[in-house]
């Protein structure tokens, strides 16, 4: 069991778990993949060269960027090679059916159907083959498939990052709070509140659909500031009045959720310009989603704050031993206020990203998110007792949760089972963490 201990004993022990999970899901989602775009076109072209030219070709691709590339590329290649391209199809079954009908109507000889894999399976072809004599001898050619895990497709990996971005950003704030031995239950509600508030500001004050970039930035900054203010309020209840963090933020959770419903009237706010979705859905920097880039920047920043600044030290000190910290001259109250305000602001930012992702603000956003966020932090190795925890551990924790969810969706595990597995992983992570602290002994 040495390997087992050595994997989990390091500061970022959960990284081992993450890698194991990735490996597992890669293995289980190994599937035949269809090449796309010009790669598919060249490959198919090679195959077609083996055929004798006795008739025309119909090329069919999906109505996507890669589908378009495939069709255009193959058409050029075949034309240069002297083939007659009878028609090209870009779209779904109805378009293919139309093209086939057209060819039959013009009484042309169709020899080959060169198409992307999806078309070959469609009942539409079956129907034509059965009903039309001319179609019987048509050979259907599709690009050859190769074995590759669905999980490891670059688009899927980006999906995972994009899907977890909001939770991961919230988890930064939650890590700070939990390191001070506190908890913040209000982040889920703050997401909804911030999303509603930002979109409401845009709708009411910055010209709805015609809002300028400046207007949208103002609206979002305002929403984030208000959330920071609410966090500050929870923090002051905790720092000045000694209210337990659980209770103070439970109250805030209800308040923020109620406010979100009040402002929005229970309905989503969607009168927003298209550009509003830039933050949540744009990918202007080398194909990486903007939200993911923002997440990475925030993690780097948070890591620097926690490891290099006095505030970071103070946060650890307050969580490690409040009394000792106070007697060492740490401004405990200021630290608590700062931490809860930051957590609120990050939740506000999460809400803005979510509003941007869906180009609408809805008071139902963020339901139960606080629990996923806490789970990410705990799985990441931060102790609920405070004083310990690493920012990047939290990122790993968030990714573990995202990978499990994504992997289970890809393998088609039922939702109920997913919950059971997630819960089990959470317990297991905490158990491992406690065992690690006790030097690999099971009980106290």
């Amino acid at each position: 069991m040495k390997w087992f201990k050595s994997i989990f004993s390091s500061d970022y022990g959960m990284l081992g778990v993450l890698i194991l999970l990735c490996g597992f899901f890669s293995w289980i989602t190994l599937e035949e993949q269809n090449p796309e775009g010009s790669e598919a076109a060249f490959q198919l072209y090679e195959n077609i060269q083996n055929e004798d030219k006795i008739g025309g070709v119909l090329i069919a691709g999906r109505k996507t960027k890669t589908g378009n590339q495939f069709v255009e590329q193959l058409k050029d290649l075949l034309k240069d090679d002297g083939w007659v391209v009878l028609d090209t199809v870009q779209g779904g079954p109805p378009q293919l059916a139309n093209a086939l009908k057209g060819i039959i109507a013009q009484n042309k000889k169709l020899q080959l159907l060169a198409c992307e894999e999806v078309f070959a399976k469609m009942p539409v072809l079956e129907n034509f083959r059965n009903s039309e004599k001319g179609m019987k001898g048509v050979k259907i050619l599709t690009p050859e498939t190769k074995l590759w895990p669905n999980f490891l497709k670059s688009s899927n990996l980006l999906n995972i990052a994009n899907q977890i971005a909001v939770i991961a950003i919230l988890a930064i704030g939650m890590t700070l709070v939990i390191v001070t031995a506190g908890i913040d239950l209000s982040v889920g509600s703050l997401i909804a509140f911030s999303a509603v508030l930002a979109t409401w500001f845009v709708r009411e004050f910055f010209g709805a659909d015609e809002a300028t970039n400046f207007g949208m930035i103002c609206a979002c900054s305002l929403a984030i500031s208000v959330c920071a203010g609410l966090g500050l309020f929870s923090g002051s209840m905790i720092a000045f009045f000694g209210v337990a963090p659980f209770v103070a933020t439970l109250g805030m959770m209800m308040i923020a959720s109620g406010l979100a419903y009040m402002i929005s009237g229970g309905l989503s706010i969607y009168e927003l310009p298209v550009r509003f979705s830039w933050l949540g859905r744009g990918d202007d920097f080398g194909g990486l989603p903007n939200a993911v880039i923002l997440m990475v920047i925030l993690y780097l920043l948070a890591h620097l704050v926690m490891s290099r600044t006095t505030m970071g030290r103070y946060i650890y000190a307050v969580g490690g031993n409040t009394e000792a910290a106070r007697l060492s001259g740490v401004p405990v109250k200021k630290v608590l206020l700062w931490v809860y305000a930051s957590c609120g602001a990050l939740a506000g930012l999460g809400g803005v990203i979510m509003a941007s992702q869906f180009r609408s603000g809805d008071p139902k956003y963020g339901l139960m998110y606080e629990l996923y966020v806490i789970a990410a932090v705990v799985v990441g190795g931060t102790s609920l007792a405070g004083g310990k925890g690493k920012i990047f551990g939290t990122l790993i924790g968030a990714f573990i949760i995202a990978v499990i969810q994504n992997g289970m969706n890809l393998t088609g595990v039922q939702s109920y089972t997913q919950k059971v597995v997630l819960g089990t992983v959470l317990l297991l992570a905490v158990l491992l963490d406690m065992m690690k602290k006790r030097g690999w002994k099971l009980s106290i």
């Binding site: 086939l100 399976k121 869906f358 969810q405 939702s415």
Partner: protein, 321 residues
Amino acid sequence: MYMFIISILTLIIVGCGDGGSDQGEGKENKSKGTIGVSVLTLGNPFFSVIAEEIKKEAGKHGYDVIVVDGDRDVQKQANQIDDFITKGVSAIILNPCDRQSIGPAIEKANKAAIPVFTCDLKCVAEGAEVVSHVGSDNLQGGRLAGEAMVEALGQEGGEVLIVHFPQANSCQLRVQGFEEVISKYNDGLSANRIEVVAQLDGGGVRDEGYKVTEDTLQAHPELRGIFAINDPSGLGARAALEKAGKEHQVVIVAFDGQPEGKQAIKDGKIFADPIQFPDLIGKKTVELIMDYFAGNEVEKEVLIPTKLYRKEDGINDPDLK
């Protein structure tokens, strides 16, 4: 201890393996493809019936079906759609968790050229292309409910409470249909009118329905009728009536025709339900998909009419005890 950890890891693997093996079997039968289904919530039997029917019907045509639970969380559902796209499913069926916010996710599927169908709940977001929508005719159902209420109250009329769930568009249509019939009935009547005295949000769930009914009984002790937009809130209302001892004074008309709702109708606890046919909705959706795959143009929207379900139907219903 290590045994414990290993056994849990095994559990995870088995959990995932289950899903995998479903697919495996499909492959042996030369599956034609996979249809991804994300329902609003599996917590409501209405949607699980739709999902089951889709599975059954698509299986007949040689398609695999993956059903996931949107859990009323639009971000979760959007993620599920992302994952469907990654898997390269042939088609996606949704009950959108939010009719606006699900738009961008559908747009993504559009970009990947995967056809999207909705059932029961609609998507109204601009720019999101849905091939076809199948749903109950809620307006017609609301009218049926109104007629049932008129019938139940008889000549005397009286005060009526609507246990609403205004967030859902379908429920707004139901209430609209209901009110249409009621106001038509009231036309020209000066006495014995049917008055809608309150429209309260029952959240579509039992405990909220209970609460709003209890409160209304305080304000309107003479209440004669309740229209609840679904069975759970109707049954919640019934519980409040029983507690107040007013179950004979007040009649309930609910909606949906879920098994427990039907049972309640048979037992005389609910007067009648315009029932929906989730099985038909599921079946029709798959039919539309197959039609689409076959290269035909399909209708943009198909509405399945509801039918009024009364006590006699309950007595003759073989599915009920």
